[in-house]
């Protein structure tokens, strides 16, 4: 029989909170974490707003030597992993060889890359810090988490831009089903607030320029949306074999019932016509979980607040579930308050979706006022809504045409 996979721990550091409970509270209340950018001087950028992690000092978590030798993106992954691991109660209850780590990032250590590139240009290549490579590479967060937690099982990074941590969770569940681990820390992290990080997305004209009103700048599905808001953070869940979790009496947040992964094979940044690739990912995710569209109650959308994403994702949802069902269910984008955490987005949204199932409350698309033409689903505008939920989908899409959908199920016992 197919193994059942459950979420038994959660951790996140985000623009709306340094830990999961605070982030969930703010997401439900629709309190935006977007402000004027401070980590880089935004003066030259058309987009001057960002979802930065606030009141963050790495020394609150790491000793000075470790703090200096880890990129910000790695620190976020470590902090989220610690929270998730402590939350799971797995310490001492799992053999380290059976505990894995799959933590991705869209970009990796771009802060470190930029700093050392400057050193090389200004002072010569001999002055490049010997820690440069092992700080910058996009798999080092996973490696550091392995060391920090003492997880000696499978360990690698998924790199699919804004779908990175969605893939991490989907693959982790499959790995446990295959028997390659009993539990896996799965998620992602991102720290893109640098000159080239922000400058690059600005050059693509991907970012919102609503600089005079940061808190409503991320407006998924709204007619006045004008791009996504760059954000940072880390999010990690503990996925565990249900049997293993039950044997140790673990608290269970939700069940990861299935996943679907596809590629648009169409364009490097634009979604395929009508969200064709994303629609297939949703269909596969439902099939994998053994459910039909009628059983889906809620979709946590990718919902980036770009012109192209929101309209195509809406079409994709209709294509995957059928127009009538699509209009009946609830769809919301928590990026309306977090901004777009890129490689951490899929995992933090999986956490929010799990909490929605567990608590019976749907987080809102907080900033949505006037739905755009063609955006005609129930996006739960403004306020959170109480509702009994059983199944939910969570979508993540990444540059490269990567699509991943997770099917989450309320945990209702064995």
């Amino acid at each position: 029989m197919r193994k059942r996979i459950v979420i038994t721990g959660v951790g996140a550091i985000s623009p709306v909170g340094l830990a999961v409970p605070e982030s969930w509270k703010n997401v439900l209340a629709g309190r935006s974490g977007v402000r004027r950018m401070t980590l880089v001087d935004p003066e030259e950028f058309p987009s001057q707003i960002a979802g930065e992690v606030k009141n963050f000092d790495p020394l609150d978590y790491l000793d000075p030597k470790l703090a200096k030798r880890t990129d910000r993106y790695t620190q976020f992954a470590m902090i989220a992993s610690r929270e998730a691991f402590a939350d799971s109660g797995l310490e001492g209850n799992i053999s380290p060889e059976r505990l894995g780590v799959i933590v991705g990032s869209g970009i990796g250590g771009i802060t470190t890359l930029e700093r050392e590139h400057k050193v090389a240009m200004e002072r010569g290549v001999r002055r490049i810090n010997p820690f440069f490579c092992p700080m910058m590479i996009s798999n080092i967060a996973a490696g550091r988490v392995g060391i920090d937690i003492g997880a000696k099982g499978l360990n690698f990074a998924t790199v699919t831009a804004c779908a990175s941590s969605g893939h991490a969770i989907a693959i982790a569940a499959d790995m446990i089903r295959l028997g390659r681990a009993d539990a896996i820390l799965a998620g992602g992290s991102e720290a893109p607030m640098t000159l080239t990080g922000v400058g690059g997305f600005c050059a693509l004209k991907a970012l919102s320029t609503r600089n005079d009103d940061p808190e409503t700048s991320s407006r998924p599905f709204d007619r006045d949306r004008d791009g996504f808001v760059i954000a940072e953070g880390g999010a990690v869940v503990i996925l565990e074999d249900l049997e293993h979790a039950l044997n140790r009496g673990a608290e269970i947040y939700a069940e990861l019932a299935g996943s679907g992964m596809t590629c648009d094979a169409y364009h490097i940044t634009a979604p395929a016509e009508g969200g064709e690739g994303s629609a297939r990912a949703m269909k596969l995710a439902m099939e994998d979980a053994g459910i039909v569209p009628e059983q889906v109650d809620y979709i946590n959308a990718h919902g980036t607040s770009t012109k192209l994403n929101d309209i195509n994702e809406t079409m994709a949802i209709k294509a995957a579930l059928g127009e009538e069902i699509a209009k009946r269910i609830m769809v919301s984008s928590t990026k309306s308050v977090t901004g777009h955490m890129l490689g951490a987005a899929g995992a933090i949204e999986a956490i929010f979706t799990s909490f929605a199932l567990r608590d019976g409350i749907v987080p809102p698309t907080a900033t949505l006022i006037n739905p755009d033409e063609g955006c005609d689903l129930d996006y739960v505008p403004g306020k959170a809504r109480k509702a009994e939920l059983t199944y939910a989908l969570s979508n993540s899409l990444g540059f490269g045409g990567h699509n991943v959908t997770l099917t989450l199920k309320k945990y209702m016992g064995e």
Binding site: D63, P64, K65, K68, R127, N129, P130, F131, P134
Partner: protein, 78 residues
């Protein structure tokens, strides 16, 4: 500041060790917990601070705090 103190300051900063650990006899690897990458970074720190270039052959011999101080004194620093 004396040469000894300047060297100690760099070591404390790069390795995150306590001042009292930085004795002349202290070995970078066994006593101060520096792995090979830490030691490369330390050598670069000395090069930057004292404006000299330490060849790799020489660098591998600088295994204790005292040896670094003596090396720098031989190079005419004080």
């Amino acid at each position: 500041m004396s040469l000894e103190n300047r060297v100690a300051e760099i070591i404390i900063d790069k390795l995150g060790v306590k001042p009292e650990q930085v004795t002349p006899e202290a070995q970078f690897d066994t006593d101060l917990g520096a792995d090979s990458i830490d030691q490369y970074e330390l050598i670069m720190g000395f090069e930057d601070a004292f404006g000299l270039r330490i060849d790799e052959d020489e660098a591998t011999k600088l295994t204790t705090v005292g040896k670094v101080v003596n090396y720098l004194k031989e190079k005419g620093l004080d």
